[in-house]
Every structure is written in C-alpha cells, then in structure tokens.
C-alpha cells in the first residue's frame, strides 16, 4: 500500500504538467481549488492502471467528477468502462497489480489517493460505505446476519454489545426486513437475494455514512425485488441524506434514481450532466447511441439502433477518441487527437463535435483541423471551457 502512495505522490508533478492539455482544468464542475466547499467528493484526473503480464490495463484513465452532499450521482457505462474500478479506487480497495497512477480523490478536504491505510480503515464502512452486486457472496456465510451488522458498528464506534445489537435490529427494521428480531439470528443462506441486499444496505448505512457507493445494487435481483430495493433506497436517502454514487448499466434505474449522471466509456468520462437533460438530449454520440439502442418499455420500434463494433481493449487503446472507431459522426481529427472534456450548455462532453474551433464536418482534412485547433489553443491559453456551439 505504501508503494501506491509513493507512486501517486511521485506522479503529481507529471500530472500538473499534463493538466493543461488534459481535462482537469477543462472540467467546469471541478472548478478551482477553493470553489468546492459544498462538494463532498471531488475526483480529479484519477488514473488507475493494472500492470498485468500482458500489458498495462488502463481501467480508469483520467476521470473527473464531483458530488455534493446528499446528491445521487449515477455512473453508467458498459462492462470494462471502468465504473466499478472507479468505485473501488475511491474506497482504495485496488490491490495488486492495480495502482493509482495519478489524480486526487478529495473527500471532505482530504485526498484519499494518498491517505494511509490506517486513515482509510477509519473511513471505510464509517464515512464511506459500499454495497455490491452479489449480496449473497458479500455476506459471510458462517455468521448470523445480525452479528455481521454488529461487527460493522463496533469496528467504528464504541458501543456496548447490547446497544449494538439493538441498533442492528433497528437497522434491519429500517430496511424493511419483517420480524427483524428473529431475522437477526438468520444466516445468509436462509435469506433470499433481495433480503440479503437489504442486509447489505443495512450494513452500509449502519454508521450513517456521508457517502454510499452502490455498485450495481439491483442487477442480480428480479424486477419486482429491484422495485422494492429502489423504493427502499429512495426512502432511506430522504431520511439520512447520504450522498450516493450509483453505478449501473441499467439506464432505467439511472433515470429513476440519479440526479446527475456520468457516462463512462473505455476508462474516460464522455459525458456528465443532470439526468433530465441527459435523457432529453444526449450530446455525446456514444450516449446517443446507447439511448437509441435499448428497447424501452411502451415504445415499440421495429429495429433498434446499433452501435457497431465493440469496446476497444484497455491494453491497446487508440490514440484519438476512444469511441472514434464506432462513432457514426467520426471526423478525421477524432482518430488522431483525444478530445478534451468540453463544457457545452452547462454540461461536460468529451467530443470534438462541440469544440468551438472545429467545424463538425466529417470530410474536413485532419491537418487543417489540427492547425485550427492549435491556433485556437494559443489564443485561448487555457483549454476551452466556456465557449459553446
């Protein structure tokens, strides 16, 4: 773990240089250093790489987003886009061969990327907690569920056995488990998937964390059970005012739960905005394609739109925009240059189409476009942020 810290620290100057061309400053939501008092969590230029035998897997490759207290932020994307690694990185649960290579995770003024393991232990399960996709495998099969909640309570708070047990029963009742006192003594295998997920949520909320990370919390559940859990999460959010990072590939769940959304593709944030405008008018071609390709209940279409091809390998990423090869609006520059995260109408989009200096013309010559871009950059000094098309 010490290793990780060292490397993260040593990468800092590098990141600072990189920052001008990269996206840190371009991201409007992250703002300056002082402008983030109400941000509970601010992720800046975060990179998590996995050093495998077959090469470096750039699972998370420079992402920025922020989260206010009590807000529900959705992170959506397909498998391999880095959404789960992002959440594990925030929890600092990345182990060998993974490493935080660069970036900051500002949590309430503290950088989790460089925090020591001791500091993280105090935060994990206490101020930030996490619930996972497979509730049945996340509970220890040989302990009673109630005792597992008690353990979470006692790790972080000095509590008498009696008080902890009462609190555990209270939590079980809160997450809607009938006859919670009896259920306290149940073992995980005696409960259904939905019940186990409720227990996981009870554990996650045991210490009333400021941030709850829910990684595909309902994916393994049936729809009617999913409805129960979503309803529960909404109700609990109202009561405890916990900020939630909701990670899911189900855009329906997203639309229902999230206030703001981050769309990820191949380790990068491609679009970030509030949920309503994202669904109403998606800007990034990937987001557009994603929304057009899902069958929507009650809206029968003869054919679904298709995003051709597959996600590029994270070991061997293209030099330009990562979506370029699959993009219906690909321009020559897309293949050569990686676009910045641009601010367009109060949202962030990583796409050249919205760059003020670029003519969204698929036939434009790459060199010309590049010249234009460079001229623009020189005149602006700073990467474009405010300008929109």
């Amino acid at each position: 773990m010490q290793n990780t810290n060292d490397s993260a620290t040593s990468m800092k100057p590098d990141l600072a240089n990189d920052g001008a061309a990269g996206s840190v400053k371009a991201d409007p939501t992250s703002g300056g250093a002082g402008a983030s008092n109400d941000d509970l969590l601010r992720v800046e230029g975060l990179k998590t790489y996995f050093y495998t035998e077959d090469g470096i897997v750039k699972a998370v490759d420079g992402i920025d987003f922020s989260l206010k207290r009590g807000e529900v932020l959705g992170i959506a994307g397909e498998s391999g886009c880095g959404k789960s690694v992002t959440s594990l990185t925030i929890m600092r649960l990345i182990s060998q061969p993974g490493k935080i290579v660069a970036g900051h995770i500002w949590f309430d003024g503290k950088d989790l990327a460089t925090a020591t393991e001791d500091e993280m232990t105090k935060i994990r399960g206490n101020r930030i907690s996490m619930i996972f996709q497979q509730p049945t495998s996340c509970l220890n099969p040989v302990f009673k569920v109630g005792d597992q909640i008690v353990e979470v309570l006692k790790v972080h708070k000095r509590m008498s056995d009696r008080a902890a047990k009462d609190r555990a029963v209270e939590l079980l009742t809160m997450v809607g488990i009938p006859s919670a006192k009896k259920r306290y003594d149940s073992y995980p295998h005696e409960m259904s998937g939905g019940m186990c997920q409720r227990v996981m949520i009870a554990m996650g909320l045991a210490n009333e964390p400021e941030l709850l990370i829910a990684d595909e919390p309902t994916t393994a559940l049936d729809v009617t059970i999913q409805a129960q859990i979503l309803e529960l999460m909404k109700a609990l959010k109202k009561d405890i005012n916990t900020a939630i990072i909701l990670i899911t590939h189900d855009l329906g769940v997203m639309a229902e739960m999230a206030e703001r959304m981050v769309i990820m593709y191949a380790g990068k944030v491609v679009e970030q905005t509030d949920t309503n405008s994202l669904f109403e008018s998606p800007k990034h071609p990937y987001t557009q394609g994603l929304l057009a390709s899902i069958p929507v209940l009650g809206q029968v279409r003869d054919r679904l739109e298709v995003i051709p091809g597959t996600v590029p390998s994270l070991r061997n990423l293209p030099p330009g925009c990562r979506f370029a090869a699959r993009c219906p609006r690909q321009m020559p520059i897309c293949v050569d240059e990686e676009p910045d995260l641009l601010k367009v109408h109060g949202r962030s989009v990583r796409c050249w189409l919205y760059h003020p200096a670029i003519d969204p013309d698929p036939t434009a010559c790459a060199d010309q476009t590049l010249d234009k871009l460079n001229t623009y950059r020189q005149t602006q000094q700073e990467p474009p942020a405010a300008a929109a098309k």
């Binding site: 397909e78 329906g252 997203m254 309503n276 899902i294 929507v296 209940l297 679904l304 298709v306 597959t310």
Partner: protein, 392 residues
C-alpha cells in the same frame, strides 16, 4: 395429424444438401405471419408449430443418508400454450418461475414429468431416441451465457459444424455451411479455427446463434439470449435474431426476464409465475391491457429510461414462495393485493377473456377476478405523461 406427420417425414427426408443451403431460400421472402389469420382461435385453421399441453416438470429433492426423495420442486406445473409458425412467443417471469425449464422441456433436453409437447403434430414425449435425433435438426436452442455455451477446448468452427457432423454431412458441406453461417452472423469465416476465449461475449453469442442455425431448424428456443450482454451489444444481437427470423422463417420461443426486450421482439407474450402460466396474449394487448395482478405488478416495476415518466408503482410484498411447497389455489395469492378467500381455496381456471382490440388471438389469463382488474395500461400512461403517442 396425418398431414403434419407427413410434414415431419418430408423434413426428415430432405437431402442434407437442401437443408444446409438456407441462403437459397432468399433473404427477400418475408415470413408469412400466420398469426393474423382470422378466426383461428379454435386452432384448426391455424398453423401451430408447437402445442404444449399440461406440461409438468418436477425435480425430486433428495435428502437424508439414503438419498430418498423427500420432496419435489414443481418447476413447471401444468403449463399450456401454443406456438404459431413464424411468430415469436415471448416467455417472461422472474427467476425460479420455470421459464427456463419450459424451454428445456419442450426440446426434450429434460424429460417432462407429465403432459404433451406436440411439435409439428407429433408428440415429442413418445419419440424414441432415433426419431428424437432426427427431430432435433428442426429445433434448436440459444443460451444465455456466452461463456459456458461453447466448449472451451473446441475451435468455434468445429462447434458450429458439430450438428452437421452428427447428422452425417460431408466435410465439404460442413465447412461451406460453417463459413456461410459465420459470415451471416457477422463474423469472419477465417475465425473458424480460433477458440472461444478469443472472442468477446457478443461474438460468442453470435457463434452460439450460428451453431443453432446450421441445420436450418424451424423452431428455436432462445433462452435469455441477450441478458448477459452489454447494452450496446444487446441491440446488435436482437437485430440479428430478427433478421434471421425473416431469412430462415424461424419460429422463436423467446425466454427472458427483461420485459422491454420481450416487448421489442415478441408477437405474443406469456407471463409465468411459480411454475404456472399467469397470462398470455398478443404483445400490445398484454402490455396495454394486463389483467393478471402479477403482470400488472411486473410491468409497473420496470424502471423506464426516461426521467420525465413517473409511474405509480405496485410494490409487491415479500419474495416468491418456494416451488418446493407452492401456495394453494392461485399461486400468487400470497403477494396479491386483490386476493380473497377464493384465491387460496381454488386454483383459477386458464381462460380466454377476449382481447380488447378484438384481434383473433385469445387473451388467456389465470385469475378469478380478471374481469375486474382493468388498469390504465402502459401506452396510455406514457401518453398521458408525455402528451404524445410514443408508438413508432
């Protein structure tokens, strides 16, 4: 009966060469949807490819030192439905409702505990091994998990061509068909010598589809074919399935838990709950005029990817009961908000309550109170909220 039997014989007597040249049948001939034929409710004039009658599949539960049978999981417990030639019949339900078991049992990959499966007019449950092997050429299956559905030690070309090998086609025919099929599902024929692990999930699913189609079957059970795939890959596979249906005149029994997907691809939809069929009707009829309380709850539980739509949700109490010891009467009564005494006493009849749109197809439902359960319906609800008709 007699004509149907002849039909099967004809199919069986086809020269292998005929069977493996699907492309000759042309992509331009659209499927004749028999489902529209008027007055076919009673069944005689309708061309059924499969009729399932009172199908039952129980799995024994063994316990104790002597491994004696101590109980039975009634995975499928008396299911009736027909599949019309050329249609896609969607089968939805939550995990444990028995939909996958139905898919396996109608193909006789599992032997039914009771009931009949008439395929092309012949009762599959009475066929001997040889007859069954012949029939298998006409009925195939596509699986959910693209990772376990291909033998990791066999090159994919061999997997795709295995059916042809089993049924005695020559090497040249096999190789030709494998190449054609791989091309047809959007893969390079040169990939035939590669192993499954070299492909992505979506590509593997295409390989699975190619394998199912090499023998030019008429009936395909698609068991959750897209639920393990990423969103952007799902639509690719769904479109391929639709295209192939047109091209090869396929009939699908499409099993899924995702109602949006089922709505997209199906002509008719059946809803299962705890080993029983709860409701079965035309797609639009089922989604807009669901009559079984379970169907209504299921439909209301789906989150719609449009934040403008806020729906009143029916939140069901509790979990699905164990199929080891299903509730008496109507199996849904333990979670049903309309349940009355009769629901726990008496099993509701599987009956036709008539479609709203007066189509030819029956609206079958198993609920005592089906006449009194009318709801607003999904399309109307969305229309009200958005002020537009979303039907495209």
């Amino acid at each position: 009966m007699a004509t149907n039997a002849n039909n099967v014989n004809e199919l069986d007597n086809r020269e292998p060469a005929d069977a493996i040249k699907p492309s000759e049948n042309g992509a331009n001939t659209p499927v004749q949807h028999i489902t529209g034929v008027g007055g076919g409710v009673t069944g005689d004039s309708t061309d059924y490819i499969m009729r399932v009658q009172n199908l039952k599949k129980y799995f024994p539960v063994r316990g104790g030192v002597l491994q004696r049978v101590v109980g039975q999981v009634k995975a499928v417990d008396g299911v009736n439905f027909d599949v019309r030639r050329g249609e896609t019949l969607g089968l939805v339900g939550e995990s444990g409702c028995g939909k996958t078991t139905v898919g396996r049992t109608v193909l006789r990959l599992l032997n039914p505990t009771g009931g009949n499966v008439l395929f092309e007019g012949r009762d599959l449950t009475t066929l001997n091994a040889g007859e069954m092997k012949k029939t298998r050429r006409n009925m195939q299956i596509i699986f959910q998990d693209p990772y376990s559905s291909l033998d990791p030690r066999v090159p994919i070309g061999q997997s795709v061509g295995e059916g042809l090998l089993i049924h005695g086609f020559s090497r040249e025919e096999r190789e030709q068909t494998v190449r054609d099929m791989l091309k047809r599902v959007g893969l390079h024929p040169e990939h035939a010598r590669r192993y499954p692990h070299e492909f992505s999930g979506g590509q593997r699913q295409r390989i699975g589809i190619a394998r199912a189609l090499t023998m030019h079957p008429s009936f395909i059970v698609a068991d959750e074919p897209v639920s393990a795939l990423d969103v952007s890959i799902q639509s690719q596979v769904l479109n391929i399935l639709k295209d192939l249906q047109q091209e090869f005149k396929l009939t699908y029994l499409f099993i899924a838990h995702n109602l949006s997907v089922v709505e997209h691809i199906s002509d008719r939809v059946g809803v299962m709950y705890l080993g029983k069929m709860a409701e079965l009707a035309d797609r639009d009829e089922l989604f807009n005029n669901p009559r079984h309380p379970y169907t209504q709850a299921l439909l209301s539980a789906i989150p719609i990817p449009d934040p403008r739509i806020r729906r009143d949700r029916i939140i069901l109490k509790g979990d699905v009961p164990s199929p080891l010891n299903p509730p008496s009467g109507c199996r849904f009564h333990t979670r049903c908000w309309l349940a009355q005494q009769i629901c726990s006493d008496q099993e509701p009849e599987w009956r036709d309550i008539g479609s709203e749109n007066a189509t030819a197809h029956p609206h079958l439902v198993a609920c005592h109170f089906a006449e009194q359960t009318k709801v607003k319906g999904l399309a109307n609800e969305i229309k009200e909220q958005l002020g537009t008709d979303t039907k495209v």
